[in-house]
Symmetry: C2
Subunit: 157 residues, 2 copies
């Protein structure tokens, strides 16, 4: 392969990668816009994300939540403060290690989780429905592989 051909080849690969990223951005923005609309008047997307994470595993520490939700400690503190004020979550010290603060859903938070999570899942399924089941499986697998590698790189820096 000549140097020029190699150059064209590299440019070709790079154009495919950029296009992949532009498409990922587009899917993210369009889906987030639709999902945000559906929550209007109920909870913010950030609060929903907090509730959904605690519904998956209640009693997480702030550090654990920050890692899972990909938000900074500062933003998370404000979010937990407001959610606690509104009676959705409550902070409690860990029974074994008093220095460790864990966040729990209140009964009202559990009620919101039972109401909002299935509706949210149904909306996601509707938005993804133009893809066939095997396409969704492939897409999920590829995004999982990419996310794992990005998360590893992220922790190294």
């Amino acid at each position: 392969m000549t140097a020029a051909a190699k150059g064209r080849d590299a440019a070709q690969i790079s154009a495919v990668d950029t296009s992949l990223w532009v498409r990922l951005l587009g899917c993210h923005n369009l889906m987030l816009g639709e999902l945000r609309k559906s929550f209007e008047g109920e909870v913010t997307m950030a609060r929903f994300d907090l509730i959904a994470n605690l519904d998956r595993e209640d009693g997480l520490t702030l550090a654990e939540l920050s890692r899972r939700m990909l938000v900074t400690a500062g933003n998370l503190t404000g979010l937990v403060d407001r959610s606690e004020r509104d009676g959705v979550v409550v902070r409690k010290s860990d029974a074994g290690d008093k220095r460790l603060v864990r966040v729990w859903l209140t009964p009202e938070g559990q009620r919101l989780a039972r109401e909002l999570i299935p509706a949210h899942a149904a909306r996601i399924s509707k938005l993804l429905s133009p893809l066939a089941a095997d396409e969704r499986r492939d897409l999920r697998r590829l995004l999982g592989k990419l996310r794992s590698s990005l998360a590893e790189g992220h922790e190294k820096t």
Copy 2:
């Protein structure tokens, strides 16, 4: 299939879909975080996106830019105002239809495009490099199909 089995089946599909969305969110947030870091001190991501869109096709109207960049007309006006003030773009009336305003890169904008776009593309390729070439092709194709269907649904509402 019993009703209970159908229920389990639907729940299974829904869990895969939700997980797909959570992974897409994660890939988006982690990649955006890395790419944003790399622009620090040069331009904002929003301004880079404006420059990159005009580099692809110069002289777009505000309506066309708003559609391609998936930003509201209000946010776009502020972005173009600031970019024009800093000498990166310039607004000009369309030669044929004076009511139509088009946005063009200035020589400084073109210089920024030549400097930033290849560096941005190289960073994207590096972030995607853990995926094999055929995986990137598949991922790009699936995201393209999803984005098209989402954009159609979006225009209908």
